[in-house]
């Protein structure tokens, strides 16, 4: 599959998840229980992207020592929980990462 084909398929999937709910879903199809579990989707998926990107080195091995990304992420998490601000979270993490690798 070429890159552009893959992008078109991904676009179709994204579109269909948005379209299906408007076109097909009826109120009865989702009970409270399913809705409750679906509300955990971000908490279930995003860490699977976050953790490996922080804890693994570029070869895919776990790197716990001498890894500036761990401290920078912890700082970003604290700033995020306190400020509830998306921008503050991203930039506090990036700035602490740069301070650790370039200054200290």
């Amino acid at each position: 599959m070429s890159n552009i084909e893959l992008i078109i398929y991904c676009g179709l999937i994204t579109f269909l998840t948005r379209f299906s709910m408007i076109a097909l879903l009826k109120k009865e199809m989702f009970n409270d229980r399913i809705r409750e579990v679906l509300s955990f989707v971000p908490s279930a998926i995003f860490p699977a992207i976050i953790f490996p990107a922080i804890f693994l080195d570029s070869y895919g091995s776990i790197q716990l020592e001498d890894n500036p990304k761990i401290l920078a992420s912890i700082i970003a998490m604290f700033i995020g929980v306190l400020s509830k601000n998306i921008l503050a979270t991203i930039f506090s993490g990036l700035v602490s990462y740069w301070l650790i690798i370039f200054v200290f």
């Binding site: 994204t14 948005r18 955990f40 989707v41 908490s43 995003f46 860490p47 998306i86 921008l87 990036l94």
Partner: protein, 233 residues
Amino acid sequence: MNNKLKNFFKGVKDTSPLMIPVIPFGIIFGVLAIDLGLTPFTTIAMSIIIFGGASQIIFLQLFSAGASSLVILSSVGAVNSRHLLYGTVLSEHLSDLNLTWKIIVSYLLVDQAFAVSNDHFKQNKKDKDKYFHLIGGGLNCWTIWQITTIIGIYLGSIIPERLGLTFAIPLTFLALLVNDFRKLINVIVIIVSGTIATLGYQMIPFKAYVIVAASVGLFVAFILTRSTKKKHE
């Protein structure tokens, strides 16, 4: 002013404050795509065809890790499954539209537009042109997303690689989770999913670690929400 236009511009106005975090998100996407070796054409095509921040960034992440097409597709689908959550609410307000408008509205339905239009629809149930609010909000997001992608593509070719901007990927997703760090069940799900993905990164075949970790995480959420409910009864 024409009622449709009035709704349209109300949608543009209501989504505008929510565009502030979208601006760096779009720029980061453009920078990373160029960093990871995609052409400017492919990068713009992604922003137009997929038009979804989280989907596009997970695509980049898996693409650069060498994941197969099937894994990329299913992971994008999994990230998007959160859209299904909105279903019950919107279908109620948009059921009278014809198919063409439903398709247009669906393409433009991003989280930010949904958030403000849902409130607007509830307050203006009788207005038959109310869906133009969603189109205005969605087109506002669309325009900002394409412009910031292009800015990112331009910056991507001049920002030095040693700045480690790929670290912005986990940070962006971390930022989307900040409200969940306060809730115990969410924290458990986050730790379970993250640990499985990290340990399984090399062991789980086809780079399917995102899907495997997310499925186990959801299953844990299913069990935990059931047991806490039983205690209350």
